[in-house]
């Protein structure tokens, strides 16, 4: 059951606030909610939250026989169904538009942009490869589920460690974690996704200006997400490489309005995110090492 669209006073209030560069939760227009990452006891399990939006991502690996057309490559599958747990908006069994976008963009960012070196997942050519399964559980949707899911996904992949495997001739030996230290995946890069919500300033009566101002905000909350008239999804890594840019429909933007968002805003935000993730991963790793030393 789709909840009713936001009421007119809510919309008016949000728009007037946005015109003065104010947002309902006190952020500035191009400010993200601070992400938080909680790592689980196992490798490759992470809970990521952006404000009240919460997502769990977990990676597990198993050995399978590769398809004959790609005998040297491991397999990565991403499961990202949005259940009614996230919000009453989503139904069981029916793929909503949000789910289609989420699945496809996650697929493009985490699979098609070559994040994981697939050939390093090969154990025995044509016989055995690793199949990694990344499961995304959306726990709560308070706006911008996509960025949160993408952050959770990439951190889970970075955090995951697979058991070491030894191949002698045709014999494959899997070493337990107590025997040999599990290995991290070899990742080519770490992309992060940023979502911009676009609002046209058309509600004002002064329509004489030839280029109407378009208000852009980063990381929309649920209300902003519902009221926005267009989105721009940008996924890029800290090395300034874009992986996905998607702006389908919504308010038309001039090229000179669009490019600065990507060139300046997204670049700095992604650098910050990258530094944040690196430091959190390091903290987690330190914590784990201490645990081992005590026991």
């Amino acid at each position: 059951m789709r909840p009713p669209s936001p009421s007119i006073p809510e919309r008016e209030f949000l728009f007037t606030a946005l015109k003065q560069s104010l947002r309902l939760d006190g952020r500035s227009p191009l400010e993200m909610r601070t992400p938080s990452l909680i790592f689980g006891p196992e490798f490759g399990w992470v809970e990521c939250s952006l404000g009240k939006t919460r997502v769990i991502a977990s990676v597990d690996g198993k050995m399978v026989k590769p398809p004959p057309e790609r005998p040297f490559e491991g397999i990565i599958t991403i499961q990202s169904e949005i259940s009614p747990m996230a919000s009453s908006e989503y139904e069981v069994g029916r793929t909503s538009d949000e789910e289609v976008t989420l699945t496809r963009i996650l697929d493009k960012i985490l699979r098609r942009s070559d994040v994981v070196d697939k050939e390093s997942l090969c154990i025995l050519a044509g016989q055995r490869v690793w199949q990694l399964r990344l499961t995304i559980h959306c726990l709560a949707d308070a706006g911008n589920l996509l960025d949160c899911a993408c952050l959770a996904g990439i951190v889970a992949l970075k955090h995951f460690r697979r058991p070491e495997v030894e191949v002698i001739g045709d014999e494959v030996t899997v070493h337990a974690a107590t025997e040999r230290a599990p290995l991290p995946l070899s990742l080519h890069h770490t992309p992060f996704c940023l979502t911009f919500a676009l609002f046209p300033e058309s509600t004002s009566s002064t329509s004489s200006t030839s280029t109407p101002v378009i208000i852009t905000i980063l990381d929309p909350s649920l209300l902003e997400y519902r009221l926005a008239t267009g989105f721009l999804h940008v996924a890029m890594n800290a090395q300034r490489e874009l992986c996905v840019v998607q702006k389908a429909g919504g308010v038309p933007l001039a090229l000179d309005q669009l490019l600065p968002l990507i060139k300046d805003v997204a670049v700095t935000k992604v650098r910050e995110l990258d530094a944040f993730v690196e430091s959190r991963m390091k903290d987690d790793w330190e914590g784990r090492r201490k645990l081992v030393e005590v026991s």
Binding site: V244, K247, L258
Partner: protein, 268 residues
Amino acid sequence: MASRIEILNEGGYRSDGRRQYELRSITIDLTPQGTADGSALITHGLTQVLVSVFGPREAKMRRETLHDRANVNVEVGVAPFSTGERRRRGRGDKRILEFASTIKSTFEPVIQTTLYPRSQIDIYIQILQQDGSVLPACINGTTLALITAGVPLLDFICCISGGVHSTHPLLDLTTLEENDVPSVSVGVMPKTGRVVLVSLETRLHVDRFEEVCRVAWEAGKVLHGEMRKAVRERTGGLVDAMGGVAGAGGAGRGGPGEGDGDERMVDY
């Protein structure tokens, strides 16, 4: 296999003999297809797409009607013979669903849906041949089909794909090139010069992205000329057919001649 093909050779020619910024030949056929209110068959080189538009008409499903505007419904079919490998794609395929929803959201702000409350505009897209730039072909075809159906639009949407080979931007990619170089699709509204659609799916450096975006944006305007010519020709034909009856036909004939601006064209 891919490494054997030279995307851009020493002489500045691409694998199919085009220059960097050269577009493939475009043919546009706006003859009516079946009972569709408007249809367009557009080819970009070997890519061929047939778009039929029905409506605005009463919505089949009552619950899909919107009280203040028309509902735009896009369905995409991919002919199994359109690619080298025959592969059946079901209707539930996420890639096709996303493709359709991209087209839908691209056209929603451009179609003046508020003029037709409680009705529905159906856009059926058949991809007949694929050789790169499928999304741009679908978008251009849909623009033309909507125009022939007489659906009021704010502007054309002219879409073109671009790619980068090392540091050289290329335009209008074929499948061969799409497999090898990063590609960007840019949809432009030529009258205002604004961008409705940007879609990049492969890794590309920010600086290169800006460059290719600007080139594609320029190309969108060239494409607009081509599309406008086709629409004018068709309209001219219609006016000629009516011309024997009413004196207004003669006056109308002057319009589609060499005049500029799209305003005249909308009058018919």
